[in-house]
Symmetry: C2
Subunit: 320 residues, 2 copies
Amino acid sequence: MRMESNLQKAAEFLKQADKIEILSHQYPDGDTIGSAAALCRALRKMGKQAQIYCNDPFPGKFQYMMEGLTPQSFESQAVVAVDIADTQLLGPRMMQYATRVDWCIDHHGSNTHYAQNWVVDPTAAATTEIIARLIVEMGVEIDREIAACIYTGITTDTGCFRYTNATPATYRIAADMMEKGVDAAYINRVMFDTKSRARLELERRVLDTMAFYFQGQCAVIYVTKRMMKESGASDDDMDGLASLPRQVEGVKVGITMREKEDGSFKISLRSNNGINASEICSKFGGGGHPAAAGCVLHGSVEEARQSIVQAVSLVLGEIQ
Amino acid sequence: MRMESNLQKAAEFLKQADKIEILSHQYPDGDTIGSAAALCRALRKMGKQAQIYCNDPFPGKFQYMMEGLTPQSFESQAVVAVDIADTQLLGPRMMQYATRVDWCIDHHGSNTHYAQNWVVDPTAAATTEIIARLIVEMGVEIDREIAACIYTGITTDTGCFRYTNATPATYRIAADMMEKGVDAAYINRVMFDTKSRARLELERRVLDTMAFYFQGQCAVIYVTKRMMKESGASDDDMDGLASLPRQVEGVKVGITMREKEDGSFKISLRSNNGINASEICSKFGGGGHPAAAGCVLHGSVEEARQSIVQAVSLVLGEIQ
């Protein structure tokens, strides 16, 4: 297999290398941080110098993966990008690396192969799955700290083993990591069962806006700039909010409208039962995946809502 | 090992038996239904007659496990109880079985050994984990339908692999079941990402009641009879509500007060950071586990809330 032979080559490269810079993508999540931290720890265990760089600071809830990883300063001899599908995702402050990546380790099928070399495995639920194999290939023993990073990438990218991307292999790697001593329940509590007070306040306000259409088959919520400000919520607090309407029993199309800076509305549409979300959004110049798509609408809350609900009615009419 | 030798004996017993009645516990959940349905399917695959009995009907969201299991009527020759720790949990309508259970298959350490024989493995996250081993021991191939039942028990009893009871073995059995063709993402969506409109309405009202104490270390919500009635919520809709307050960042003690028929309040207390929930509740004649306990308080909402918050203040004071 191409991918596995590349994995061996990547391991060979890293075994020879020293003074390695590891890049995470902007707006970093559990998988890019977990991948970077696991790889950095493994390289340092081999006696090498290694350092992680990212356009943005790592959110506080991920800090446990960085514990003990004291900053190192050195002149870079090698650059590895993890979980970065495209150079655009490096972020503006990291753009100088765009043409300098020796190896890219990633699980996005959309990877643009911008690096000199790459290991891209779209069957992996998380990039940390590939990193785990890479570390074994490099001959480094996965310890508890590395295992926690790998588990974090897996659980965050699969929504705690809920999404369709979680495969039997994903579950088995998670099991292997737990045997290294990972406190999976703690990690999952921090990642999935902890809400900021601002998020809670925002959720309360947002639930008040929920409106149902077509005998409950369509649900719409909205978030205004004012609601964000009054609840003290940040962009981080919006995480997963767009999945709320579709969670309601009987809802086939769930819509979240978020007011942007210029007063227009960013529409996130999620669908069940084979309703094509992308098709609906394409009517407004948007697009996306069959079950999750988006577009931008102008006008007041009421006008924007009416436009999108009208478009949904046509699709629901077709399948009724 | 005692447990495994019992598993072999249970398999031997069932291989010899026919006309087998399988019992699930009252207020049935994913694990007791999954265990019963998986075992019933395996026994029927062996050409035996087998039928499931329960004090209560199975909730609609679990019906996929029963698909194709047409009712059979026969004179019982053997009785197996699954996931039932105590005869009290049979429920009033099933009490006639209390002294007639040949084998009990269970994962509760508190099992009272009321059956003639038992396989009790408290290290199993779900009883379906044990049922999976039992079916293999009986020499029956686990098909997709059986696998879906086993996966369901595991994911519901571990809160989608979130709780501390999920072990590496749990993850690996789940992986094995997925390889049999289980649509894990679908099951998890139905179990964890679907809310009734009544539940949503109740949640909205309950969030409005959330009050914080001691610099956000303690959060209290309440549910009155009137809120239940106005939102159209049933007892099923209360599921997991008690974990809401503790999910808020910074909260060490989360309290849910639910008004009972007689106007008193059932208090559910959940704690983090080593605060002993059971100790707090014991002051009011209640009890439970270190991180989850309960008691009953009388008086108005305000009076009940003041009493429990006062008790919490003493404990928070001690550790501050």
